[in-house]
Amino acid sequence: MHGEGFFFQAFVYLAAAVISVPIAKRMGLGSVLGYLIAGFIIGPFGLKLIGTEGQDVMHFAEFGVVMMLFLIGLELEPSLLWRLRGPILGMGGLQVLITTAVISSIGVVLGLTFQTALAIGMILSLSSTAIVLQTLNEKGLISTDAGQSSFSVLLFQDIAVIPMFAVLPLLAVNTAGSPADSASARQGTSWVEGLPGWGHALAVAVVISVIIIIGLYLVRPFFRSVARTRIRELFTATALLLVIGIALLMSKVGLSPALGTFLAGVVLANSEYRHELEGDIEPFKGLLLGLFFISVGSSIDFGIISANPGLAGMLVGGLIFIKLVILLMLGRVFNMGSDQNLLFAFALAQGGEFAFVLFSFAVQNNVMSTGLANPLIGAVALSMALTPLLLLVNERLVQPRFGTKEEESGEADSIDEVNPVIIAGFGSFGSIIGRLLRANGVGITVLDVDSDKVELLRKLGLKVFYGNAARHDLLHAAGAEKAKLLVLAMDDYKNILEIVHITKKHFPHLRIFARAAGRSQAYELLDAGVDHVYRETLDTSLRAGVDVLRDLGFRSHQAHRAMKTFRYHDEESVNTLRHLRHDHKTYISHARQRIEDLEQLLLSELRDAEEHHDTGWDTSTMREEIGGSGEKEQKGI
C-alpha cells in the first residue's frame, strides 16, 4: 500500500490531473487523453503511486458517467429525443447487432464455444459513452451529423446493456456455477431478485413511471421550496440527492443507473431549474469523469501486455479495426458525408466502460474464464485510451487526405488575399450576414464545424475553414491577424464565450460582433469585451409587436416609430442594467437573475414612460397657444 490515507490518495489523483491535463490540452490532445496519461503515470505500471485499489476508484468514478447522462438528458428535450428515434434504433441497433455477429463469428472460428463467443461479441460491441461524448463535446462536434449519430448509437448501447445483463447468465458454459445471482451481482441486493419474469417487467415499468412522475410533478415544487431557503449548498445537495436517488432506484430493479438519470434529465429538460441543475451537477460530473479516466489509465494491465505484446496488439488492433469498418459501412448506409462518416467511425471504434462490469459479471456466471477475460479487459481499456489519439490521427492525417480539408488546397489561380471579415458559424444566423456582405462585395472567411456544409460552401467558391473557431491555430490560419472583424454566429453560447476569450488574448485587434440568445448572455458577452452584441430574438419580436399595434388600429408610421423608440431605450438599458448587475455581491440563481433583470427593466420603463411618448408633429401646444381647443388626440388610434 502506498497511500497513507484518503488525503494522500486524493492528493495524488488531483495533482496528476492538474499537471497533466493542461499539458495535454496545450499540445492539442484534449483533456480525456490528459487524464488517461495521468492515470498511467501514477498507476501500478508508472510511478506506482496507486495500486490495484484503482479498480475500486473506477467503480466509484463510474458514477461520473451516470451524471453525464443526466446532464445530456437535461439538454435533450423530449421532442428532440423523439426525432432521434430513427438513428437510435436503426443505426444503434444495427451497430450492436452487426458488431456482435462479426466478433462472435471470429470467436467461434478461433475455437471458442458459441456461448462464450456470443458474450464476448456483445460486450465488445459497446463503445465508451464517457470518452466519446466528452471528447466530441470538447471539440465542439456534438451538434454535427457525426456527433448526433454517435450520440444515438451510444444511447442505444446504454439501453442494450440491460438485456445483456439478463442474457449473460443464460450463456453459462459450466452450469455448475451459480446462475441464480443474475442481476444482483452488480449492485448487491436487488428488489427484483427471485421475481418471475412478468414481476420483473412490472417492477421496471413502475420504477420508470415513478421517475417520470417525480420529474414532472414533484421536483419543481420541491426545488422551489429549497430555492426559497437561499442556501446555495442545499440546492446542490438536492440536485445530488435527485441523481443518486434515481441511480439507486434503477439499480434496485436491475436497470442501468445511467439510463435512469438520463430519463430524469429528459423529463426535467423543460423545467425552469434546468440551468440550475446543470450548474450544480457539472463540476461533480467533471471531477468524477476525470477520476474515471485516470482510473482507466491506471488499470491498463501492462503486465499482460508486456507478457504477450503480440496478442495484446492483435486484440486492440483487431477490436478497433473491426468496429471501424462496421461503423464506416453503417455511415455509408445512412448517407453520411465522407468526412462525417470518418469522424463517426473513429469516434466509436473502442470498447466501453460497461465492458469492465460485463466481463467480470460474465466470469462470475461462468460464461468465460478469468484467463480469457483479463486480456480482453486490457484490450478494451487500451482501445479507450487510444480513442482521443485515434481522433487526432483522423483529424490531422486521415481527413486532410480523404475528407474535407481543413484549409482549401489553394488552386493555382486562387490568390490568397485576406478577407476583412471572419464569420464563425454559418448556420441560419451567420449565413444571412455572410450573404449580405458578399452581395456588397465584402470578402468573408467562414469557419464551420459541419463538414458537409463546408464542402458545399467551397464548391460555391467561398473561403472556408473546417473546425472549431475556439482553436487558436485555426483562427490564425483563417487570417485573424490581418482581418478586421470577427462575427460569432454560432448558436453554442459556451463556444462563443470561449472564442471571445481566445480572440481577446491572441487577436486583440479584432472587433467582435457576437450573437446572443437573450439579455443575460448579452451582458456577459459585453463584460467579456465583445464590441457589439445581437440578441437574436429582439428584432423579430419587435416586428411582431409592430404588427400587433397595427392590427389594433395604430397607424403604420406611428407603430413603427413607437418600435424604434422602444428599441433605442431597450439597447440603452442593456448598458445601464449590465453595470447594475455587478452590484450584487451575493449569489442568486440564474432563474432568479432573469426575473430580477426583467423587474429592473419594467421598473425603468415605468419611470421613463414619458420618453416613449412620441412628441413629433404634435400640435396640441400650438392650438393651446393660439386659443384653440387644447385637448390632445387620443393616444393610439
Binding site: 416609430r561 424604434k564 423608440t565 433605442y568 420618453e611 412628441t615 413629433g616 408633429w617 404634435d618 400640435t619 401646444t621 400650438m622 397657444e625
Partner: protein, 207 residues
C-alpha cells in the same frame, strides 16, 4: 480646452456621400476644426429615427448652426427636413415659450448641380438661390435666429478638382472666421453669397 467666440454646429445631410464629388471634399476642410461639431445626419440616423432630445441638447450648446447639404429639388434632403420637423418643436424652438434658438445664427452651405447663371430671374430656374431658400430663412426668423447669406458651390457636375479645393479653402476660412467673429457680416449681407468674395468679408483683400 480653448474657448472661441462662437461654437459651430455643422448639420451635414447627404444620403449618398460615397458617390459625392464635391461635398465629400468640402467637409474635409471643416470637420476637424476646433470649436466645430460636425454632425453627419445620414450616418447618425440611417433609419430616419431622429433622437430629438439628443439633437436639441447639441443645438443648444452651439452659437452658429450650419445646414450643409446638396440642393435636392430646390430644397433640403429628406432627412434634414425630418430633422427640422421633429427637432424644432413648439415650446422649444418657437412659440412664446420657445426661446432655445433665440440669438443664434443659421447658415446654409449648399452645392447645386446647376451653374450660377441658371439661378436668375431670366435663367432656367427662374429664381435666385436666396429665393429658393426662403423656407429656411423664414424658419430661422420664426425661431429667432439670424439667417446669414448662403455659402454656395455651383455647377458641381463640371467643377474641377482645383475649384473644389479653392471652395474648400474658402469654406474653412469662413467657418474659422465665424468661429472667431472676424467676418464683416455687414459687408457680407450685401453680397449674394457668403463666398462671393471671401477675402473681402474676412478683411484681407490685398489681391
Amino acid at each position: 480646452m480653448k474657448t472661441y467666440k462662437n461654437s459651430i454646429f455643422i448639420l451635414f445631410a447627404h444620403p449618398a456621400l460615397q458617390k459625392s464629388r464635391v461635398n465629400k471634399q468640402l467637409i474635409r476642410y471643416v470637420r476637424d476644426i476646433e470649436g466645430v461639431t460636425f454632425h453627419d445626419l445620414y450616418e447618425e440616423y440611417p433609419d430616419f429615427h431622429i433622437h430629438v432630445a439628443r439633437e436639441q441638447q447639441l443645438v443648444v450648446k452651439h452659437d452658429i448652426i450650419v445646414f450643409h447639404h446638396p440642393l435636392f429639388w430646390f430644397s433640403v434632403p429628406a432627412l434634414l427636413k425630418e430633422w427640422m420637423d421633429l427637432v424644432l418643436q413648439h415650446m422649444w424652438a418657437y412659440g412664446y415659450k420657445g426661446m432655445a434658438l433665440k440669438g443664434k445664427k443659421l447658415l446654409s452651405v449648399i452645392s447645386t448641380g446647376g451653374r450660377e447663371s441658371l439661378f436668375q430671374e431670366k435663367g432656367y430656374n427662374r429664381h435666385t438661390i436666396a429665393e429658393f431658400l426662403y423656407p429656411i430663412a423664414q424658419t430661422a426668423r420664426v425661431c429667432g435666429m439670424d439667417y446669414l447669406p448662403p455659402f454656395v458651390v455651383h455647377g458641381t457636375h463640371t467643377i474641377t478638382k482645383e475649384e473644389i479645393a479653392r471652395n474648400g479653402e474658402d469654406y474653412r476660412k469662413i467657418i474659422t472666421g465665424l468661429r472667431d467673429g472676424t467676418i464683416d457680416l455687414e459687408l457680407a449681407r450685401t453680397l449674394p453669397r457668403l463666398n462671393s468674395d471671401t477675402d473681402s468679408i474676412l478683411g484681407m483683400q490685398e489681391k
